[in-house]
């Protein structure tokens, strides 16, 4: 098997194989997401997270089969349908996020054109190599996310006699849903690139990318789950069903397993149509792009004069603070890499916000504040602060850092203060405002105001915690990706976050109605924030700003040095001295 694979691969053109390997490394932004720039390891870790989800679903399936069939057939149907919808939605969300993270990677960029055009390689070879690389990543995600649940659920749903049919229907549906979504994204990108001038396309592409992020997250969190035939057949729901691909593929799965009610056949029909259009659209747009835009890219002028209407730029404190805040804002806004990593965290923030909005908008009457609401807002705050803190160390241009070093005319603590202000402006303030918007109209204002004060203090505390030992200017220090184990950090962070929010929210709930306890909580949080601020300020006084992250030394020195005046019986004593360490 291995030998025949090797023979098959060796038959492929050499240029294709070289390009495929190169593009595989570039499907996902290496600098942004890799671990020690080692793509197989990164992909392995990414697959590990997906496999974890798959195992959770498998566990769910076995719990269901062990607990016996639920009492009534309609309850059973509701459970099965909601599960099927959630599995398909989750698959589409994962593929959607991959499409967003690998945005533009399948289309020829300026670098590809300039490097590969002079070489004797046809555009079709480049296209095939890129498609294969992207396909490999998407395929790996589909397999990883369903590796356990893709066998457990068909077994539970179809039983042993129908396992084969359910299993093949399951895998086909998942593959089709993924293919549909990825191709739909490519079609939109491709035709936008073809129809618009390249300069406008590049600006629009960034907006489209963030829009796609919002759409996928929003759809996942906001789309309702229909659990009985009456809901599916209700004409009021037809518009949502007709426009939401997860329902189409739910219908397709049931069609393939033979359990689709005839009333829903139109949805399965939409899935087939959608899949066909998406694949044809993607193929056409890609071929046209490779044949057309490669030439267009070479011919376009390097520099197009840009007119800017507004000359005013806001001030955010001192000159230094303004410089660093504007630099940070522009780095986030203009660097795809930074935008995408931050968008990952903010998509979770907005996901929670969307689900809050849904629950807030449903009843008309004012409702008292609830622990779930408090919990959500705290989680949003932590995610935003952690997200921004995780983006800060990613450098934007290491070579250009000399200018910051040559102009370093202020003490380090002023740079740290500017970084703190970035945290407060770009993470704490947006979440605080979002919470205020989502709650002031639907909850008693006095309770909301009390919570907003606590949330502001919590935001300040989180921001200060995130700055402990961070003696850098955002986006300027070299990055050692190997220092962070993404899987460990992700799960560790998720667990700490949930425990924190679960334990704090009920406590805050009790405190909100009692002025004395509320004042006490404010004092505690205020003292914590001020204490952390003082600690960071004091540490920053003696800190040296650094622009290069150094790896931990391979050999650990004991720091023993000889002091000439120390001797016992004529023999010198080794005196330990503090070795300077850098976080």
């Amino acid at each position: 098997m291995r030998e025949s694979m090797r023979k098959l691969i060796s038959r492929l053109p050499h240029s294709f194989r070289v390009l495929y390997r190169q593009f595989l490394l570039r499907v996902v932004d290496l600098e942004a997401l890799s671990i020690e720039a080692d793509i197989p390891r990164f992909l392995g870790q990414f697959a590990g997270v997906l496999i974890m989800f798959s195992l959770i679903h498998m566990f769910d399936a076995f719990l269901m089969s062990l607990s016996g069939r639920p009492h009534a057939p309609e309850v059973l149907l509701a459970f099965i349908w909601s599960k099927e919808q959630s599995l398909i939605s989750e698959m589409m969300l994962v593929v959607g996020l991959i499409a967003v993270v690998s945005w533009d990677s399948i289309f020829p960029d300026r670098r590809d054109v300039m490097v590969l055009s002079p070489l004797p390689i046809g555009p079709l070879t480049i296209l095939l190599a890129k498609v294969s690389a992207s396909g490999a990543i998407v395929g790996m995600s589909v397999v990883a996310l369903n590796i356990a649940s893709g066998f457990a659920w068909p077994l539970v749903l179809g039983g042993l006699p129908h396992f084969l049919r359910f299993c093949s229907a399951y895998w086909f549906t998942m593959a089709a849903a993924s293919l549909f979504l990825y191709c739909a994204v490519l079609t939109i990108q491709g035709f936008t690139a073809l129809l618009l001038p390249r300069r406008i396309f590049l600006s629009l592409s960034a907006i489209l990318q963030l829009g796609a992020y919002g759409l996928f997250i929003g759809a996942f969190f906001l789309l309702p789950t229909f659990t009985n035939l009456a809901q599916w057949a209700d004409p009021r729901n037809h518009r949502v069903l007709a426009l939401s691909p997860p329902y189409w593929f739910f219908a397709l799965f049931n069609q393939l397993t033979g359990s689709l009610p005839p009333a829903l056949a139109w949805l399965a029909h939409r899935a087939w149509m959608g899949l066909g259009f998406a694949v044809i659209g993607a193929a056409a747009s890609l071929i046209l792009c490779y044949l057309g835009t490669m030439k267009k890219t070479v011919e376009e002028p390097d520099l197009v004069p840009r007119v800017r209407g507004l000359r005013w730029t806001p001030r955010f404190g001192s000159s230094l603070e303004t410089a660093i805040i504007l630099f940070s804002f522009r780095s986030i806004a203009r660097s795809r890499q930074h935008r995408v990593v931050l968008a990952f965290y903010f998509s979770l923030v907005f996901g929670i916000a969307f689900s809050m909005a849904r629950s807030e908008l449903s009843p008309i009457a004012l409702r008292p504040i609830a622990p779930e609401f408090l919990m959500s807002t705290i989680i949003m705050m932590v995610l935003a602060v952690v997200g921004l803190r995780n983006v800060f160390p990613l450098p934007i241009s290491l070579n250009a850092n000399w200018v910051l070093r040559v102009t370093q005319l202020c003490p380090s603590h002023k740079y740290i203060a500017a970084t703190r202000r970035c945290q407060l402006l770009f993470a704490v303030l947006p979440v605080w405002l979002l919470t205020a918007c989502l709650s002031l109209c639907f909850r008693p204002w006095n309770q909301v105001a009390e919570h907003l004060v606590i949330l502001a203090l919590l935001g300040w505390v989180f921001a200060e915690i995130s700055l402990v030992g961070f003696y850098k200017v955002p986006f300027t220090c070299s990055y050692l990706p190997g220092k962070t184990n993404i899987q460990f950090a992700f799960w560790g962070f998720a667990i700490v976050l949930i425990v924190l929010a679960l334990s704090f929210a009920p406590f805050e709930m009790q405190v909100l109605g009692e002025p004395f306890r509320y004042a006490g909580l404010l004092i505690v949080l205020g003292v914590a924030a001020c204490g952390l601020w003082t600690f960071n300020r004091h540490s920053a006084d003696s800190a040296v700003l650094y622009f290069e992250e150094l790896p931990d030394p391979v050999i650990t020195t004991l720091g023993l040095t000889l002091r000439p005046d120390a001797s016992v019986h004529g023999r010198d004593l080794a005196v330990p001295q503090a070795t300077s360490t850098r976080r």
């Binding site: 520099l303 197009v304 504007l326 241009s397």
Partner: protein
């Protein structure tokens, strides 16, 4: 006056700059010459404070620069060898950031930036991203950023790189004008013709060691050579250039 006393820099024990001493005086343009890898840029980086020297002292107006590095940096302007810039910013944004980092008054510096961009023919592209700028345009941004705060010490590491003929002529005159206004100008370049026209004196480095430090006229008469190029070839170029060119052509032909 900028003075280097027995300055050395070792990388992993290997000397890149070895016991170099010279002075650059106000009102003079000091040329700093040497073949590739001779240690010019390393010296420049030590003078800017970007890297620390292994041995020796660098003094500005009689004070070691490390004693008050911040005060020293306030008075220094630096154009690095490579035009490394934050390319996601526009020309105006970059210069504004530099002026803010130097804590220059906002109103005055924005007028200065506008004027500099106009004089350097970058005004039309001031709002375009630096990523689209040519090498010469980037070089002009670097020159503007180095001069924005009216420094007393100007360090120019190959400032003519990528500039068109007109801009190079302007820069040549500018260097002389800055020196005439009493600034210390240390200028490194491979363009010996320009160096010969602009510099009052030259310092030549070879394999990290100083091999000449004198006025060009004195060097000419001392070595009995007609041009700076001939002096430089004798002091710092080891190989037979014609023979090397033949060898390269032979190699690719084979």
């Amino acid at each position: 006056m900028l003075e280097l006393r027995n300055v050395s820099k070792h990388f992993a024990g290997i000397p890149a700059v070895d016991d170099v001493s010279f002075c650059a005086r106000p009102g003079e343009v000091t040329g700093y010459l040497g073949p590739n890898g001779s240690g010019k840029t390393t010296t420049m980086k030590m003078i800017t404070g970007l890297i620390e020297m292994t041995f020796g002292h660098i003094l500005f107006e009689g004070n070691p620069i490390q004693d008050d590095l911040i005060a020293y940096k306030r008075r220094m302007g630096y154009v690095p060898e490579e035009p490394y810039l934050y390319t996601h910013l526009s020309g105006t944004e970059y210069l504004t950031m530099v002026s803010q980092l130097r804590n220059l008054p906002q109103r005055e510096s924005s007028k200065q930036i506008d004027g500099l961009l106009r004089l350097l023919s970058l005004h039309d592209d001031r709002h375009a991203s630096i990523s689209g700028y040519s090498k010469g345009m980037r070089q002009k941004i670097l020159i503007a950023a180095a001069l924005l705060h009216n420094p007393d010490l100007v360090l120019l590491d190959e400032p003519f790189s990528g500039l068109d003929v007109g801009s190079a002529l302007v820069l040549r005159s500018l260097i002389q004008e800055l020196a005439a206004r009493g600034k210390v100008v240390l200028f490194s370049s491979h363009e010996l013709d320009t160096v010969e026209r602009v510099c009052t004196r030259v310092v030549i480095l070879h394999r990290g060691k100083l091999v000449a430090d004198d006025s060009i006229a004195h060097l000419r008469s001392l070595m009995e050579l007609p041009t700076l190029e001939a002096i430089f070839s004798q002091l710092a170029v080891e190989q037979d250039t014609d023979s090397m060119a033949r060898q390269i052509a032979d190699l690719i032909h084979a």
